[in-house]
């Protein structure tokens, strides 16, 4: 099946399950086409492993077009590999040199435990999102489009924040394994729009509380997340989240447990 002329040596993290300890294992990747994506290259390696009766390398993926946020992989010391602003599924083997040794590791964070090999459990992000990343909508007749005026700059900014695909590369890149870029993107995308105002102050409190509970680290504003984010989510979001959080905590009446979703008292 493989038709290319590139060869690589892979060093891959293999770990049987969450409770086992893992180790780096070396595999050859042969006859790889430069036009293959990184995940397709792993598919080729896995096929040969299956032929040999070995356990294939487990890794996460879904859309393979950079929109779902499922793929991960810490490649040669960088999340989603050496290129900027793309996901691993969008990374092509022509970005590497023939004969290169490529190190592949899972995201490393206490809040992202390894499930198997390169696949990690990112449900911490889901729980953060569920704690406040929504708006309330009344049922009833369909409202007219564009009935709420939103300045274009605001709509654009909110949209930029909303492009976060929840991949977790920001956590993987951060020396503190902090999730603040992700959380701040989710807080901002709703907090900037009129539809997000009713929950604005409770949302930021609930999402930050959940983030802390999951055991992510604390941001020291190094900016590694912003540089490695496949969607180029800006640090501006973190500043915005902090501002909302401090306003909510210090100057607003709403308490976090006023929030419907977080349980009430």
């Amino acid at each position: 099946m493989s038709t290319g002329n590139m060869n690589f040596t892979l060093k891959v993290w293999r770990q049987k399950d969450a409770n086992s300890s893992g180790k780096m294992v070396t595999y050859p990747a042969e006859n790889i086409s430069p036009d293959m994506s990184f995940l397709e290259m792993l598919d080729v390696v896995n096929e040969s492993l299956i032929h040999k009766g070995e356990e294939p390398i487990h890794f996460d993926h879904d859309c393979r077009e950079g929109i779902c946020g499922m793929c991960s992989l810490y490649i040669n010391g960088r999340p989603h590999g050496p290129k900027r602003a793309i996901t691993t599924c969008q990374l092509h083997m022509r970005s590497f040199n023939d004969g290169e040794t490529i190190t592949i590791e899972p995201w490393r964070a206490a809040a992202f435990p390894v499930i198997k090999d390169l696949a990690v459990d990112r449900s911490a992000f889901d729980r953060i999102q569920q704690s406040g990343g929504f708006v309330s909508v009344n049922t009833g007749g369909v409202p007219d489009a564009n009935i709420i005026p939103i300045p274009k700059v605001i709509a654009d900014e909110a949209f930029n924040s909303a492009t976060c695909i929840g991949c977790g590369a920001c956590v993987a890149a951060c020396k503190n394994a902090s999730a603040m870029l992700f959380v701040s993107a989710k807080v901002s995308q709703l907090g900037m729009l009129p539809q997000g105002q009713p929950e604005r102050w409770s949302r930021v409190q609930a999402m930050v509380a959940q983030m802390d509970e999951e055991g992510f680290g604390n941001c020291t504003n190094t900016g590694a997340c912003e540089a490695e984010c496949p969607k180029e989510i800006s640090l501006l979001n973190i500043s915005r989240m902090n501002n909302d959080y401090f306003s909510a905590k210090l100057f607003r009446e709403e308490k976090v447990h006023d929030h419907g979703a977080s349980g009430g008292e």
Partner: protein
């Protein structure tokens, strides 16, 4: 947990404390440098000694001083708590390291801060503690003729070891007797190892604030297209260059002077 406690125990609450104490320490550095520039007055330490005496005897300044010590302790304590939490957040390290695209300062705030803490402890032990709590600092007597404005200086040993400061007049001569911290400083700065440590510590101040000053604004959520470039400019040139350079010049100039003596 009370709402207040919950706020300051959160990740962002701790960062708020870091940022506020950090910025308070930044304002202190300005005042401290301003005062210490008096070391460059060529008046046998008169202005500097009077300034040191004023600082230790003016009650509002004493109150601010204790707030300052508290700020240093809180800043260092929260730095420790945050750093420990951050290490726990990544229990398994990566095998492959690629230099993350982040500034060196931003990744080494803990190291830089530890150098600063060590420096602060030694520095305060050397000057502040000796000045305030021991009788190892000598005295100087400045006699000024108010008609000719001529000043003569001499060492002075008070009968009472707890003597602090006096200002009297004899005829046309104004006599000021004050603790001679200036001599203590000159003495410390004549030691090349002390100076080296001092200059290294000022390098640490530079790199700590190169990242820290603008970082505090980001933490507080004060980020704006119009003002952030100004904040970054001040952080880089004023706090990252001018302030540490100003402090570092003192041991260097005094060392060179001590060679000439």
């Amino acid at each position: 947990m009370s709402e207040f406690k919950q706020t300051f125990n959160s990740s962002l609450g701790k960062k708020l404390i870091m940022a506020l104490t950090g910025l308070f320490l930044c304002t202190f550095l300005i005042v401290h440098l301003g005062g210490n520039l008096l070391l460059f007055c060529d008046d046998n330490g008169y202005s500097f000694n009077m300034y040191a005496n004023f600082l230790t005897h003016f009650p509002p300044i004493e109150v601010v001083a204790y707030i300052l010590y508290l700020a240093i302790i809180v800043h260092a304590l929260y730095a420790l708590i945050l750093t420990v939490n951050n290490t726990k957040a990544r229990p398994v390290a990566y095998v492959a390291h690629n230099d993350a695209p982040a500034s060196w300062s931003s990744k080494n705030m803990g190291l830089l801060g530890s150098i600063l803490l060590l420096f602060i402890v030694i520095h305060m032990g050397d000057f502040w503690y000796k000045y305030k709590f021991t009788h190892t600092v000598g005295y100087k007597e400045y006699r000024t003729n108010v008609l000719t404005n001529q000043t003569t200086v001499s060492d002075f040993t008070p009968a009472d070891p707890t003597f602090e400061h006096s200002s009297t007049t004899e005829g046309d001569t104004e006599i000021i007797r004050v603790k001679d911290l200036h001599a203590r400083v000159a003495n410390s700065f004549s030691n090349v190892w002390y100076d080296l440590f001092y200059v290294i510590a000022m390098g640490a101040v530079a790199f700590h604030l190169l990242h820290g000053f603008q970082s505090a604004f980001q933490t507080l959520g004060w980020r704006h297209r119009k003002y952030t470039p100004i904040v970054k400019f001040i952080g880089t040139w004023f706090f990252g260059v001018i302030i540490p350079l100003g402090f570092a010049l003192m041991p260097i100039v005094y060392y060179l002077k001590s060679l000439g003596r």
